[in-house]
Amino acid sequence: MDLFLQLAITGVMLGSIFALLALGWVLIYKCSGVLNLAMGELTLIGGYVCLAFYQRLVTAMPVTYAFILALIGTLIVGLILGLLTERIFLRKMIGEPILAVIMVTVGLSFFFKGMVFIIWDTDTQVFYPQVFPIEPLVIFGIAIGRVYLWSFIAALVLMVMFICFFKFTRWGLSMQACADDEMAALSLGVSAKFVYALAWGIAFMAAGVGGTLLGNINGLNYSVSSLGLLVLPVVVFGGLNSVPGAIVGGITIGLLQNLAGGYLDYYFPGGIKEIAPFIFMVIFLLFKPYGLWGWERIERV
């Protein structure tokens, strides 16, 4: 029971980071119809950018301020990179077939990954001095890593912020309008180009926070990008165009991954933890081809 609770809690907390990433993914898909396979690399970039800021800032100020400033810096850099990526690579692909758009994002993922390792090298890099103390928090006899707890809180806060952004701000509303009906939104004076660019900017920012949090757990290396790739089973589970689906999906996949690692590893030694979400996804797709809350499209000849 102890083991189960510990696994479940860690899973839910890790899942909240996936949910954050999935939110960025769903946003791009909703607004511009782009299926983004480069999410893992966006996460990687976010993590490394924050690390670079942090390492420079931490020499001049206390750890907490340095980390918060670095995170803000990451968000700004993420926004700029997102706008640039959309402008340079994806704007030209509007209206192209699905495969072409997907392959552009695949090309982007190769490009980003290569650039990250050219700039930052392949060693595992850690946030040093550590932002979150290594000593665990013991609640009812269950040891919870402080990083996880803070990641969970940060992810929740950010998700609430995102949702408020969509519901109550002008930009957020125009994004929603564009996602619902592009034609109608255009005729009402919403700039689709602006919305697409903003979606990419926000996705980059979400990925930046996700990467930073993942990097704080034990450090950054290229396996962060494969964690970022887990966003795909998450969105398939929740439905491609559903924001609540992304959140529920993220937490479910995090939970599932950890429980599989804890229990199934005994029966299928090795690697089941990484693969379990994908196996689950295939089986799930056979029963619910559009995810939990995805839109079912009716096709006509």
Partner: protein, 384 residues
Amino acid sequence: MSYLPCGQYFENYREDQKWWRTPFIKAKMVFMVLALVSFPALVDSQWLSVAYTINYYILAALGVQLLIGYCGQITLGHAAFVAVGAYCSAMMVLFIPWPQFMVDVGLAYPVSMITAGFAAGFWSVLFGLPSARVKGFYLIMTTMAAQWITVPLVITQYVSQIGGRGQAFSIPPGTIKIGPIAIDESSMLGSWEVSGDMKLYFFSLLLVGLCLVAMGNLLRSKIGRAWIAIRDNDIAAETMGVNIVGYKLLAFFVAGFFAGIAGSFYVSTLSFVSPEHYEWFYSLLWVGIILIGGVGSIQGLVFGSAFVVLVFKFLEMAVLGASDMLMESYPHLGWMTTKFIFFKESAFGLAIIFFLIYEPNGLSYRYWQLKNYFNLWPFSYTGK
């Protein structure tokens, strides 16, 4: 593959779809075969290995072209099926106690190759099954899952553990034989005193020839027309009476079969098989090849494979060849050579993006334009 002199018209479908439509095509083919056969005499052995790598990519991407280019089923997990073929073939050759007479006449490898094709085909159908229910992005996800389940889980964690500690299966030199001839990359054994590279080159050429002809024939038959109908509009195809689930699964089977043959062939060029030969990168690479070459075109496959392999080769020659010089004369630039692998990856990523943006029809479209230009030469109208 067509060259029609002015004023020659066909009167029925059969004539239009013939392999040898004009004498010129025959002459062109004879010339091409001669060129390919005499190729080894003109170059040294490292270019032969480039040539058979191109052939391997053609074989592997053939199934991708069939699925994406002719049947409209997007796959991002083809390396899984190639891996199944390769492991099936390697394990059959290594672990099955073949009767002595079969080893003597060198039947083990050819038999394993056919089996590998079937194994990969059925494995591919297994992951094609969801295509009955889902399409578009969801299908992409299931093919990606095929990659994750097959290579990092089944092959790395379970298959590789057979007879060892999760290591690559070494294939001792001289194990892979067709008839009396050992065709491993490093072997000079066998009755022919030719280098391993040359044997591999001709072997790959033979396989590519057979597979391309088979594919071409399939495409001009009823099956091929059904696939194309599904690609263009599956609902319309269904209303026309095409059994779309059946034909989709058949497409997955045939694509998997070609992948199995490709995997089985590639085993002979290596001293060992390891899961790292079949990473997700290769699945994407083969999709990239057909996009660069041109979707829905067999020539495109050849152009795309040649383009990718040659560009990688030139990059490698340029960077690695200059690495000693760089290290000695410009030590501060030495880091570039150590990070070559990432430059290669970035360059490949950018190449795909720019092809998709600026050349969405691929190289085969340019070839077609060129051919049309010369069709009417010297009176061609360039359009501008």
